[in-house]
């Protein structure tokens, strides 16, 4: 392989640049091995470097290993290979680099009437969103950041803010007008409106993203891309802390958790090793040997009895673990969809069976509100009380746990300084076939304050489960 060597000598800066980019990708939490980095360098030799999108997709093909890594990668790519590194076709004056341009009327001198400018640009944005040409929207976003997004120039340089652009243009308030523009007279309400809403939402989202990207690009020009890269990249979906998940993360989280729940269900139910067969089926083997002249070449075996366990899920749904309990219920729902022997119990300071809310196909958000309304999970003041909850469980549903049952407890083990009833849990663990506790708190906080996690941990296998990747690790160890 002589070609790559000569090429990298020729483009000495390029290899270094790629190296910096690979480092940044690694720092964003995407593991990139040495061989992948070598492949990335090889990509540069076969691809047309002037085609930015080809470069983007080409490097993604060797550096990434999961779809969820793509958004973070795209942000970094835009920083390392910004658009303006090559002359854009049909460039207008406002797109040129800062510093290099002298003829930019809005930059230094007194601005024209800000309100009038914002109004004019808002009208243009409205027109563009109505037409929905993504390239046009992107170009407009760059212009908008240039004219509306700059803050006060300071000694450290010019800074840009996306919130300034959003405040001046407020694209969200355009939705009603856009709908009116997209829909004909008789179409209001019903199917067409819903479809149009979705279209508008996508376009507004695209505009916001374009503005963010442009602000990051300009900031990187001023302050260096390494600094921007550190702040700009959102954590990957499987690294999002369950306890701190925002509502926007939940949909993403649900997508990551759903396949995990399926795997968990499989792991808990069929613990048979593939390939291990049951007792020899003599009759079948002899019958089959007739095909090979009486020599039993292939032996046949009776199928093993498939172990069908019951699973009991006991989850804390109190306010202190709100983010986590949404996830636990999601998990319960997914488990319910995959095998029938699941019984779900929810508790705050009392326990109630909630299996009925998780019929296959039921909506999780729906189930959560119904549990709050209909299930008897709060008896006293709505603060979690593990002791009472376990007592009520042992009292009312003792028969749920038997020698075939797997027990899964989900909660942070914070008892609000009430009795923990550890022996009760221990007896439940003893009676079950296997028992695990998933705790959304970091391990170093177990036992601090009102947490009884350390004491529970002595009688049950307690596992830290703060994000989807830890859940995945737990499942593989089962």
């Amino acid at each position: 392989m002589s070609a790559p060597v000569s090429r990298s000598q020729e483009l000495g800066g390029l290899a270094g640049h790629l190296d910096g980019f690979v480092r940044a990708v690694r720092e964003a939490g995407i593991p990139v091995g040495i061989s992948q980095a070598v492949d990335a360098a090889e990509i540069l030799t076969v691809i047309d470097l002037l085609e930015r999108e080809q470069l983007r997709h080409g490097l993604a093909a060797v550096l990434l290993q999961r779809g969820a890594q793509r958004p973070a990668y795209d942000v970094l790519f835009d920083l390392w290979w910004p658009l303006s590194d090559r002359p854009a076709p049909a460039d207008d004056s406002s797109e040129s680099e800062e510093g290099a341009d002298g003829g930019e009327p809005q930059q230094g001198g007194p601005r024209p009437d800000d309100a009038a400018l914002a109004k004019a640009m808002r009208d243009e944005l409205f027109r563009l969103l109505l037409e929905g040409d993504e390239d046009e929207i992107g170009r407009f976003a760059r212009r908008a950041v240039d004219r509306l997004g700059s803050g006060q120039p300071s000694p450290t340089g010019q800074s840009y803010f996306s919130y300034r652009v959003m405040r001046a243009l407020s694209p969200d308030t355009l939705v009603a007008q856009l709908l009116a523009g997209l829909l004909a007279e008789g179409d209001r309400g019903g199917l067409n409106e819903q479809v149009a809403r979705q279209t508008v939402r996508e376009r507004v989202e695209a505009f916001k993203n374009a503005v963010e990207t442009e602000v990051r690009r300009r900031t990187a020009n001023e302050k260096g891309r390494e600094r921007v890269a550190k702040n700009a990249v959102r954590p990957l979906a499987d690294q999002i802390d369950f306890l701190r998940a925002q509502s926007t993360d939940l949909a993403e989280l649900r997508r990551t958790v759903a396949p995990l729940a399926r795997r968990l269900a499989v792991r808990l139910s069929a613990r048979r090793k593939i390939g291990r067969q049951g007792r020899l089926d003599f009759r079948k083997t002899v019958r089959a040997s007739l095909g090979t002249g009486g020599v039993p070449v292939v032996t046949h075996h009776r199928p093993r009895k498939v172990h069908k366990p019951e699973l009991v899920v006991l989850c804390d749904v109190s306010g202190s673990v709100a983010g986590f309990s949404h996830f636990t219920l999601m998990l319960t729902q997914a488990l319910r969809e995959h095998f029938t022997g699941v019984r779900a119990f929810a508790f705050v300071d009392s326990t109630d069976e909630v299996t009925r809310f998780f019929r296959p196909g039921a909506d999780v958000a729906d189930a959560v509100t119904r549990i709050g309304r209909e299930a008897q999970v709060v008896a006293f003041d709505g603060h979690s009380d593990y002791g009472t909850a376990f007592e009520v469980f042992a009292d009312k549903y003792a028969s749920a746990i038997g020698p075939k049952t797997s027990l899964l407890v989900l909660g942070d083990g914070r008892t609000n300084y009430r009795p923990a009833a550890v022996p009760l849990l221990a007896s439940m663990v003893r009676r079950s076939r296997s028992a695990h506790w998933l705790n959304p708190e970091p391990e170093r906080q177990w036992g601090s304050g009102d947490s009884a996690a350390d004491r529970y941990g002595e009688v049950i296998d307690m596992v830290e489960c703060r994000n989807a990747s830890q859940l995945a690790d737990f499942i593989t160890t089962l």
Partner: protein, 295 residues
């Protein structure tokens, strides 16, 4: 680093990939075209991952058509083993050979022994077939995530060196490197070792423009306005949290349905009567009907 046997690449440029896949009836976007081009140039297997119905298997078929290759398909499932994926000795024929030698010519043990482990008694399964072929080949390993972890180990030798080791025969090396496509629905994380040997392509549902083009190219008689409406509706359905989002092929089925029924607009009535074409869970249908206010 050992490289698989070199041969002239199938495609001359990314634009060439785009053009020839389009001619084969598959409209690639920039990402797909670039990644396929690189897979061809670097001689690496291509791992395509994405939700069901985004055209992963279709890509392999189109690639075979575009490069005039034969498509060899290995469908993965739980319990897939060496005997089904790689090769198997034909026991029955071997036994017949032994018995024939006992009855008739009385050949000695050595010659029979060498004889029954020859090429004649080898049943070639997809992986071995793909490696031994001398004509252009596209090897599709479908739904890799369904197979057990052990199968991945099996694939490693095949995918990195394009060779198969059979104890009795020795190592068989590819004379002509097949183009390999692996698909996965990401229900299980594939091993790092396997991923490292592949180029990675995350396939998602196509953009509105691209899906409209796909619909118009596959169902050419459909009015462009209706196609536009159809695609927007499907996108609205995909934005909901459904158990199974409508796939590209279901969009095409829907377009065909509307055409057959002679409907020229997709209104509430048309939609509720044909919803079964795209949504196949009762709960999905109820949810879609509620959110799109069909009733």
């Amino acid at each position: 680093m050992s490289r698989p046997p070199s041969q002239s690449p199938n495609f001359s440029s990314v634009a060439d990939v785009d053009k020839r896949l389009s001619e084969a009836g598959y409209l690639p976007d920039a990402q797909i075209a670039t990644t396929v081009f690189l897979a061809d140039r670097l001689g690496k297997p291509l791992l395509v991952e994405g939700p069901a119905g985004t055209g992963k298997t279709e890509l392999a078929k189109a690639l075979a058509a575009a490069t005039d290759s034969e498509l060899i398909r290995l469908q993965c499932y739980e319990g897939l083993d060496e005997a089904r994926a790689l090769y198997e000795w034909n026991y029955k024929k071997q036994l017949l050979r032994i018995q024939a030698s006992q009855a008739g010519d009385g050949a000695d043990w050595d010659s029979v022994h060498d004889d029954i482990f020859g090429d004649e008694f080898l049943l070639s399964r997809p992986l071995l077939t793909a490696i031994r072929r001398t004509d252009p080949t596209v090897l599709l390993i479908d739904e890799t995530d369904k197979a057990d972890v052990e199968v991945e180990g099996l694939l490693l030798e095949v995918l990195s060196d394009f060779q198969v080791t059979i104890p009795e025969l020795g190592t068989i090396t590819a004379t002509r490197r097949p183009m390999v496509i692996l698909t996965s629905n990401a229900t299980r994380e594939l091993s790092e070792a396997l991923k490292r040997r592949c180029l990675y392509l995350a396939l998602d549902y196509p953009s509105a423009d691209r899906e409209r083009e796909i619909v118009l190219s596959r169902v050419p008689d459909l009015a462009p306005g209706l196609a536009d409406q159809l695609v927007k509706t499907v996108r609205a359905l995909r934005a909901m949290e459904l158990k199974k989002s409508p796939s590209i092929s279901e969009t095409l089925d829907w377009a065909q349905t509307l055409l057959e029924l002679g409907l020229d607009t997709l209104d509430e009535g048309a939609m509720s009567s044909t919803l079964g074409v795209v949504l196949k869970h009762a709960s999905d249908q109820q949810r879609a009907a509620a959110e799109l206010r069909l009733n």
